[in-house]
């Protein structure tokens, strides 16, 4: 069966050009770049070039501001723990309630270590209120860590603007952003619109490089202790033998993303928009989460009220469609997605949320296939639902009140 892959915010297919660029470093040029002999010169030079290329494509920053890591989670851990350890006089951190666990759980750990963390709320559309941010800034604020775009909804935060406010308030505040979902999807310019950002984390596998390679931009002069201690690699800021092939792959993937961005972006957004139009027209009581906010063009987070996401994904999978959900049954815990809860999405909708995320490898036919399958999937589950009236194709009268987040009867 043909697979329609619409889960590109989870991971992406590795571009053939990337595989090709990586190949020599597994086969003939496998040497440790730290070795002295001539043969090791190739890998060392390849890393140098990759670093320069990435620096150039993030807005012309300096090569020595680019650190290679194993994943975005490591980059985020490095940035946050590193900043905290380097600045013991300050004890306050600002973040948001919709961050990835790689940031949220690090912040929770900081609380255990005695720091204070302000977690900013978002509104029903997933937006931050800048006034909340301003109010949260304190004299002892050490770090601001706010994601660039949300992985579940695609909502983009005004990180450049928030960074400017933080720096004008107090240049000592360190600003970090988790840009895992935006590098390769948005133009990242650390010399202009993001010039007040000190650290920026991302990984390779969201932009058609393989899993297992990440990157951290660290602006010169940022006070940050190393996280992974070891050899002198990465100028002592991250120990461990460089993952040469993957670093080369990451650089190649970013080059491709930047080169094709202008052509791909309108095509991807058009697919997403058509998907949303067609599905909301065909399925009653469906809403798009984050539609009222600036969003990434590739991401669609839909909620179909009164059905449960796991059953949706199972049927989509049976039809060859790969997507994800914020429902409790798919989260590994028994809670719905913290992002949708943070937005105040009623649980009638949170359980029935599905995320489709596209890449440049998706085709128009993919949207056609989803549109031909998805409405019947929802209808089949609603027929089974005790909250749905099949005659009117509406919620039962007693369930209507739940649409606005009212409690669903007495939970036992």
């Amino acid at each position: 069966m043909e697979i329609v892959y619409a889960d590109n915010n989870a991971t992406t297919r590795v571009a053939p050009e990337v595989v090709e660029a990586m190949r020599p470093f597994f086969e003939e040029s496998y040497f440790n770049p730290s070795s002295m002999y001539d043969a090791a010169h190739g890998p060392a030079e390849a890393i140098k070039e990759a670093r320069a290329s990435i620096a150039r494509h993030l807005g012309g920053v300096r090569s020595d501001e680019i650190l290679f890591t194993s994943c975005a989670t490591e980059s985020n851990n490095t940035a946050i723990f590193g900043a905290v350890r380097a600045n013991p006089a300050r004890r306050h951190v600002i973040t948001t309630c919709v961050e990835h666990p790689a940031v949220l759980n690090v912040c929770k750990e900081l609380e255990h270590e005695g720091l204070e963390v302000t977690v900013l709320p978002v509104d029903r559309q997933g937006r931050l209120d800048t006034a909340d941010f301003v109010r949260a800034l304190r004299r002892d604020t050490l770090l601001v860590t706010i994601m660039h775009a949300n992985n579940e909804t695609g909502v983009v935060f005004p990180v450049g603007e928030l960074a400017r406010i933080a720096k004008e308030t107090d240049p000592g505040i360190i600003v970090h952003t988790d840009a895992t979902q935006t590098v390769g999807k948005l133009a990242i310019d650390l010399s202009r619109q993001l010039r007040h950002v000190d650290m920026l984390a991302f990984s390779g596998h969201k932009l058609h490089a393989p899993k297992g390679v990440g990157c951290l931009f660290m602006r010169r002069g940022t006070a940050c202790r190393p996280f992974l201690l070891g050899g002198h690699q990465e100028a002592g800021r991250r120990g461990g033998t460089e993952n040469v092939a993957f670093i080369v792959g990451l650089a190649r993937a970013l080059e491709l993303a930047v080169a094709t961005h202008e052509d791909d972006e309108p095509h991807i957004t058009a697919m997403r928009d058509r998907l949303e139009r067609e599905l909301t027209a065909r399925i009653p009581l469906t809403e798009i989460n984050g539609a009222g906010a600036p969003r990434l063009g590739n991401t669609s987070n839909l909620s179909c009220h009164f059905v449960e996401g796991e059953g949706i994904l199972y049927q989509l999978s049976a039809a060859g469609i790969c997507a994800s959900s914020g429902s409790a049954c798919t989260s590994g815990s028994l809670e719905t997605s913290h992002v949708l809860r943070g937005m105040g999405i009623p649980f009638t909708a949170a359980h029935g949320s599905v995320r489709f995320s596209f890449s440049r490898y998706n085709r128009k036919g993919d949207v056609d296939h989803i549109v031909s399958v998805f409405p019947e999937v929802i209808a089949s589950l609603r027929r089974l639902s005790p909250y749905w009236d099949n005659a009117s194709d509406r919620p039962r009268p007693e369930a209507e009140g739940m649409l606005h987040g009212a409690p669903a009867g007495a939970p036992r």
């Binding site: 005695g114 109010r135 199972y314 429902s327 049954c329 028994l334 649980f347 359980h351 939970p411």
Partner: protein
Amino acid sequence: MTWEYSEKTKQLFMDAVHGVAGTHMGEIADPDGFGEHGSIACGDALRFTFRCERHPSDPLQDRIVEARYLTFGCTSAIAASEALCTIIEAGHFSPVQALKVSNQDIVDFLEGLPEAKIHCSVMGAEALEAAVFNWAQKRGVDLKALGLDMTSAEQEEGRLVCKCFGVTEPYLRRKIKELELHSIPEITNAIKAGGACMSCHHAPGGLQDILNDIWGRHPTTLVPLPSMPEGHRDATATGSELSPYQFAKQVERVLSEDVRPRLQDDGGNLEIIDIKEMTVYCRLSGACANCAGATGTMKLLVERILKERVDERIRVIAV
């Protein structure tokens, strides 16, 4: 995390959503037994109904001939509902006999369920129990007299242990014994309690305490951990933790509540000119402005009240 369902579970789910003949989706009008379990807030809910062939004189000889469900929930919740109805119909049980159908029977029928999905089978057994309870009420059958210790869910009110899923202590205690649950993960897998915020796990009177009490284990003595820092301290205690804006608002509020009324009694008033760190610059106006005791008023009244109510480091300077 991909699906780890048995072929049987997958088949029942797909048959159900496609409305294949012989499946049991639906709701019986005027049922002899009606039972519900779960809620949409918790992520799954089951409405189970059955119809009996009524015995003309002895309700205990009623036979269940039809069973239907409506389920909001995941793949395994829907498959478990199918399984429940199939088992009940195939057994030609009387409602009292049907009570013997346990969640384990549902699991066996499904050829196994992943650990984390056991609660789907428990939901089936609970809805069945509730429906039999409902039948007994309608038919005037005294289940207690039959030696069945049945309590409807509504009657099991008590201290809420798991707030996320609304699970009370009496219900927990009954289920821990009935399903022989020996650990917190087993409780969560079976009845979801403790599966969300997890704060009830080791809280006093929480899941572990109840487990220890039931299975007679003694709590391990743990070294007390350092207490967590307070996220938001009482605003009146330490003004320095407030942003300047919040601090100013707090000062303004205290002045309005406690200071101005006293001055106004004397025909005066007070105005804040500025606040810099802990220094509040104030001006007395009205009758108080020219009062000989103005400076004394500032120190004795305004500063004292602000020190008490906002922050003891506050200085008040008369302007």
